[in-house]
Symmetry: C2
Subunit: 402 residues, 2 copies
């Protein structure tokens, strides 16, 4: 299908597609409008004010949608975009339909630019990955109610962020790899560290060890496992005793996968769920520790964890929380984000506001329409045919356009 034929069919209410193409996953954010009105463009608009009609500035009301695909199945993603005509609601330079651009970030924005031009007929307007992560996190933390939460002993507790007391914080984005960013304000940040042991390691190693076909299957499997079967605990070394002097309990993990040394078992002799559990715990704990050590360097008390590795998975969050609490002796706090996986894509979406010389409406500000209704709209995206496109919580919001 010639993508140009699609251009003429533009009748979608969806607009402003933004992509974050990572090493493992492609994340999509786009806006679908439910209504259009004009409101006052004063500063400090509350969510109620967004309903006020004014002639000063048009506002689009609608919903932010989220979707994801495996990067290795990029063709499914492109088909999903075409079918829903998402690529035609972005910005258009000049009059020709050839000049549609879509905001994109992540390494894949470079790697797949030609493929996307060929298949969709649009150019990618590349935004820096770190810029987008920070912009996305700041947006969520400022504009979306019940976005950040702590997770301790199986309890999720939403944290209301005081916007005057948001900065500085450490943002830890656990994608295929892990980036750790000290955020001091809007657009003010420094990538201070990272680790190559992240979601890609969990999925890659986990796939080799368990033959799981997807990340979610592996996570689900880990939920049923017992890491003590394969991890070497302090008690395994100390004959069931604690190592009191340095505060290590007998059940603390001394060495991840250490029991496999002496068990005289092969991989096939272990249950895949136990292997998956050990792996998840090893990686979560390691990320938690390195994050805390970096927070400590800069005296940051709050660490926000994002990225698709977490996926709201209780055990992952619990391990990270316990790790941060243990290493910081309760000084630092792990916080999680409800839209954890879409920081980069949201940042790319928000960057439409910086688009110079566009003929299309420009997003100037995102304001969540209703704080109360934001959490569970239950909107489902019926995406690719292979079921790889999972649902995600959408956000009802208003988009200010100039």
């Amino acid at each position: 299908m010639d993508p140009r034929t699609v251009h003429s069919q533009q009748n979608s209410k969806s607009s402003h597609l933004a992509l974050d193409i990572g090493g493992s996953l492609i994340k999509l954010v786009y806006f679908s409008r439910s209504d259009e009105c004009l409101i006052d463009d004063n500063e400090g608009n509350s969510s109620n004010e967004s309903l006020v009609v004014s002639k000063k500035c048009p506002v689009l009301q609608g919903t932010l949608h989220f979707a994801k695909f495996e990067t290795s199945k990029i063709n499914d993603c492109l088909e999903f975009i075409m079918r829903n005509k998402l690529h035609l609601g972005g910005c258009q330079h000049g009059g020709s339909p050839d000049n549609y651009t879509v905001k994109a970030t992540g390494g894949g924005a470079y790697k797949y630019a030609d493929l996307i031009k060929e298949k969709l007929g649009v150019c990618l307007d590349k935004e820096d990955e770190m810029d987008c992560l920070v912009a996305g996190a700041n947006f969520l933390l400022k504009a979306v109610h019940e976005e950040a939460f702590t997770y301790t002993n199986g309890r999720k507790e939403f944290v209301q962020i005081d916007q005057d007391d948001l900065y500085p914080y450490l943002l830890v984005n656990i994608g295929s790899g892990v980036s750790m960013i000290k955020v001091d304000g809007d657009g003010k940040f420094e990538r201070v560290s990272g680790t190559n042991v992240g979601g890609g390691t969990f999925w890659g190693l986990g796939r080799l060890l368990t033959k799981c076909e997807s990340f979610d299957e592996l996570l689900e499997l880990s939920h049923q496992g017992n890491n003590r079967v394969i991890d070497m605990l302090v008690g395994d070394i100390y004959g069931g005793l604690e190592y009191n002097k340095i505060g290590l309990s007998s059940t603390a993990i001394a060495s991840s996968f250490g029991k496999a040394i002496s068990d005289n078992k092969e991989l096939a002799d272990y249950k895949p769920e136990d292997v998956a559990r050990s792996l998840l715990r090893m990686i979560s704990n390691n990320v938690g520790q390195i994050s805390y050590l970096n927070a400590l360097r800069f005296g940051l008390k709050r660490i926000f964890f994002g990225g698709f590795f977490i996926r709201g998975h209780a055990y992952t969050m619990d391990t990270i929380s316990v790790g941060v609490d243990f290493w910081s002796k309760g000084e630092a706090k792990a916080l999680f984000l409800r839209h954890e996986g879409f920081l980069g894509a949201l940042g790319a979406f928000a960057s439409y506001e910086n688009q110079p010389g566009s003929d299309d409406p420009i997003v100037r500000q995102l304001v969540q329409q209703s704080p109360i209704s934001a959490s569970h709209t239950g909107y489902k995206i019926h995406g690719s045919r292979n079921g790889e496109c999972n649902d995600n919580e959408s956000i009802e919001c208003s988009v200010y356009v100039s």
Copy 2:
């Protein structure tokens, strides 16, 4: 064989056996005397002075020997000890041969105390693991010439340690698990951190992934591998490009094992050597990073790495060195120890000097006999029948006894 029958055969020149029984390996240190003479007990004895005969204090001249066994094959280790009568040259409380004690550290000193009492007829005198690691490291750094070295770009360079400028330093012992200890002086230290991703993880996971039968086989295998086959590099995500803005080259590892996500290969489709290489690099790099972050916390410029994970393996040391250099921007230095694996056992050995009320000679001080000859005596220990007991560099030295 009743161990009591062994006691009566005591004619060995070996003495002061000390054990470090870890989760994966048992490390042995013992002294064999070549001569006996009396020397002056003045402070500040140089190695030459140790040859001076005096009536004040007897000195045993001889060699410190090192050996290791897998903890899972503890019976081979005990047989080696019995055959060489190493357990009979320790300390004896009272007149009965039943009262022989052997200094021991590590969790296995608790776990295997009963077994050792049963098989060898000796009691273990348990010394704290961290105390021993620090005592062993301090001994090596102060008394043994050409002990510490840097490793950069395949070049080993010995570092002469100024004893007045030794403290504080960070000691990182990579055994099954990893301990990170801030050392401020003799017996003055704090375990500040650690990680459960260490030698036990390399061996345990490596065994499951490659079916290697021993740690050394796995290390050897990793030497022949190429981690780029299975690691996701920055260039893999960015279409061959660098991510310049944050200083990540295209060949930097973005995600260890991350390529396994999308390769559509099973474990059997990868070469075991490539898998081993990726694993080694992942763990070495991670330990290097966490070590650096801890050194940074306390402003420590020197990090000494010990523990059997390293085993003088070039690629391991290179990765750790590069990691410390990269993260510290050249501020901190990774140093390695020639007798890396025997810190705990040496510390337990040195603790004989603290033995109260012993009838046996007490080691009061270890002085290396000849700085120049210390490095390569080539002494071989012909140990267990299964070849698990590898050679290690012995140290010629003098042992002062009271």
